[in-house]
């Protein structure tokens, strides 16, 4: 049976024509809807005499922000206030993601421990912290700081030199000295040296089969170089230690209750999810791989480094990325406990200026940038460690 070209296909049976029709209908529908919404919005804006555009960014903000990474006063512009909020979000996300990955990995490994007590405790932790909304956890930690912790006079000192009280987390830092600049410089140089050493080591291993103790030497370089620089440039040891003066601590660094509560909530919540991701990743490597690695004479450390981790990471990285993104997005809940992150500053801006559309659009764009750049980085990393099919 053959269909001659001249035979007419009914319009509603021809996929090619239907495709055009459907797309046309979708386009018209979306177009009409957007036109309707924009039209209404313009009328409403005119009626409430709200001007559109981002001109308000230059106006004086006239509200204070509790925590800033750089100089900001109420006399500065909305733009600068939003920049302060942006940096605060960046700070809490960066520290949060780092701590979460460390704690999550630790918990995931503990979940698989042969020690019954450790495995059960970490299973309970994972289940409990996953099942309680993050916002509730944030409120709890916030109340923990303001209601349960004592005043500075009776501050708890879980580790000598670190104080916990209702003013936040207070600990000592070294007084500023030129030596720290050099130590930091040495650290950066150390990273570069380690990078090239790893390349050299893997090339040598591929050529001669000799294994170079990369991890040990890397750690030695990363710790040793800054230490050496610090020692050579005077070895300052003077510390700015917090001391009780009147009703509060003086000296040292004070991390506010809001920031600590936010960080604590985000890390403890997300780490439970990361732990599950790590556990699944480790379990995805079949037992035969470990046995084969041992039988060809690798040491336990080598088994982990050369056989299990490279395979487990491939399973771990994609879901880990989405957990990191979740943490970054959840950091927007800072607004609920009064930490001045981007959403919180933008919310204040919206309330004061009435520029709701611009404000919400900025929030969305900022988080989209965070999300897209994080997933771009993790995609790059994922590609790097992905299985090379031969």
């Amino acid at each position: 049976m053959s269909t001659s070209a001249s035979e007419k296909i009914p319009f509603l049976r021809d996929p090619a024509k239907l495709a055009i029709l459907y797309q046309f209908l979708t386009l018209t529908g979306v177009g009409l809807l957007s036109y309707y919404l924009v039209h209404n919005t313009l009328i409403n804006l005119e009626r409430q005499s709200i001007s559109t555009g981002f001109g308000f960014l230059d106006r004086e903000a006239s509200f204070e922000i509790g925590e800033t990474l750089f100089r900001y006063t109420a006399a500065d512009s909305y733009g600068r206030a939003l920049a302060v909020g942006f940096c605060n979000t960046l700070l809490v996300s960066f520290i949060g993601v780092t701590l979460t990955v460390i704690l999550g990995t630790f918990l995931g490994i503990a979940r698989l421990s042969s020690n019954w007590l450790v495995a059960k405790l970490s299973a309970i932790y994972i289940e409990v912290f996953q099942d309680i909304p993050i916002l509730l956890q944030l409120f709890f930690w916030y109340a923990f700081f303001y209601e349960i912790l004592p005043s500075p006079r009776q501050a708890l000192a879980p580790i000598p030199g670190i104080f916990l009280c209702n003013r936040g987390l207070i600990f000592g830092i070294p007084y500023w000295h030129e030596a720290y600049k050099f130590a930091f410089l040495a650290f950066v140089i150390g990273i570069v040296v380690v990078f090239f050493m790893r390349k050299w080591a893997s090339k040598r291993q591929a050529a001669t089969g000799q294994i170079f103790p990369v991890v040990k030497v890397s750690l030695a370089i990363l710790a040793g170089l800054p230490l050496l620089a610090w020692w050579l440039t005077g070895a300052p040891t003077k510390m700015n230690v917090p001391e009780l003066a009147g009703f509060n601590f003086k000296g040292g660094i004070t991390v506010s209750p809001e920031f600590t509560a936010l960080l604590l909530g985000l890390v403890l919540y997300t780490a439970a999810f990361v732990a599950e991701v790590v556990r699944a990743g480790i379990q995805s490597v079949s037992k035969g791989q470990t046995e084969a690695a041992i039988s060809i004479g690798l040491k336990p450390g080598q088994v982990l480094n050369l056989v299990i981790l490279p395979q487990a990471l491939r399973v771990i990285v994609p879901p880990l990325t989405s957990q990191m993104l979740n943490l970054i997005k959840n950091s927007s809940l800072a607004v609920a406990i009064g930490y001045p992150d981007f959403v919180s500053v933008a919310g204040t801006t919206i309330n004061q200026t009435g520029q709701a559309i611009e404000g919400v659009a900025m929030i969305m764009i900022v988080y989209l940038i965070f999300s897209l750049s994080t997933s771009a980085f993790m995609n790059w990393y994922n590609k790097k460690i992905a299985l090379v099919e031969r």
Binding site: Y22, N115, L117, P133, L333, M364
Partner: protein, 364 residues
């Protein structure tokens, strides 16, 4: 010859006492190797430091006195902050004498959920039962018909509101999510790009930005005079948000259906809608039931964010109670109580999801 046989043959030789019973179990699971032994001791020590004070705070020294001031003396937990305010925490501002109505609605919902657990009940009749159930729940909450006194939605609050937002949110988001997933898998470039942009946009921003949008931007979108109440606006935001996540889950299911199924449908001469409705979706949706339960869990937890736009859900009623000077300073007790509610619900759901995954897993 017989005399030289050993008294104990291998069969009647008992294993050493240290390898069986509780000692054997401890040796195998807690003290195998020096590292694990040290770990066990360390963890036990830490538990010893933490658990007894907690127990004495929560149970032994706790008090159930009628006011916060009287609790002060005990030094333990003051659970009466929960018991004295339980009706407000659970039902919010719903009129006191009508609170049996949301209670009945919640019982219907829980009964329906329990009934739906069993897979042998998944028939068409269950679908009708749900439709009827949701309708009855709506009538009970809202009133105004059948002789029930009407209750304005701005009085709704507490646990019923939390359940309403999550259950209705997921129910309404599911069809939208399926459509988006089909759009993303579609060969038509315009439909595909709209779907991709929508899904990625929503998944890239926090829910709170959508809630902000629903509370401050959404009213600007509407023509003059048309006002949509706050709960419905938040509900729409939650639906739009959840739909994007459902779309990604359903896409996974669509990709899990073998290519041969599509080809077979094509060769039978089915058109796109027939193929999807009769062949692909029934298989794809079955695959994605367990991950859908996870989405329900996160939707349930995420509804707590409506606190930020000042809706009186379970968390907000708790906070309101705590801002009462009579009960100030007992946040820990109240939050632990609410956490317990959330935990029980989520734990039940995640357990169910795991069970379902095992049952539906037909591979060996």
């Amino acid at each position: 010859m017989e005399k030289s046989l050993p008294k104990h043959t291998a069969e009647n030789l008992r294993p050493p006492l240290t390898n069986i019973g509780i000692i054997g179990w401890m040796k195998a699971n807690l003290f195998n190797g020096w590292f694990n032994s040290a770990l066990t001791l360390l963890v036990t020590y830490m538990l010893w430091l933490l658990v007894p004070p907690l127990i004495s705070w929560a149970f032994i020294n706790s008090s159930w006195l009628p006011s916060g001031d009287q609790c002060q003396a005990g030094g333990g937990a003051c659970w009466s902050v929960v018991t004295a305010n339980i009706r407000f925490i659970i039902f919010g501002f719903y009129p006191h004498e009508l609170q049996w109505r949301p209670l009945v609605a919640m019982i219907i919902l829980i009964a329906l959920l329990f009934y739906s657990q069993n897979r042998s009940h998944w028939r068409k009749s269950l679908f009708y039962a749900w439709t009827l159930g949701l309708f009855v729940m709506g009538v009970l909450l809202r009133g105004g018909v059948l002789g029930f006194r009407g209750v304005e939605s701005n009085l709704w609050g507490g646990l019923p509101l939390t359940l309403l937002l999550s259950v209705f949110g997921l129910t309404a988001a599911y069809p939208v999510g399926v459509l988006l997933a089909l759009g993303r898998q579609s060969k038509l470039p315009i439909i595909k790009s709209f779907s991709v942009v929508y899904i990625e946009l929503i998944r890239g921003v926090p829910l709170i930005s959508l809630l902000f949008m629903s509370s401050v931007v959404f009213p600007l979108f509407l023509p003059e005079g048309l006002v949509i109440n706050k709960i419905l606006r938040a509900q729409i935001a939650i639906i739009l948000f959840t739909a994007a996540y459902i779309a990604e889950v359903v896409r996974g299911g669509l990709q899990g259906v073998g290519k041969g199924q599509y080809e077979a449908a094509d060769s039978l001469g089915l058109n796109y809608f027939q193929t999807m409705r009769l062949i692909i979706l029934p298989q794809a949706l079955k695959i994605v039931i367990p991950p859908s339960v996870s989405i329900l869990i996160s939707a349930f937890k995420d509804t707590s964010l409506v606190v930020i736009i000042a809706l009186y859900d379970l968390l907000k009623t708790t906070q309101t109670t705590l801002s009462d000077p009579k009960w100030m300073g007992y946040s820990a007790e109240a939050y632990i109580f609410v956490a317990l509610i959330y935990f029980v619900c989520c734990f039940a759901m995640s357990n169910y999801s795991r069970r379902l995954e095992r049952e539906l897993d037909t591979s060996l």
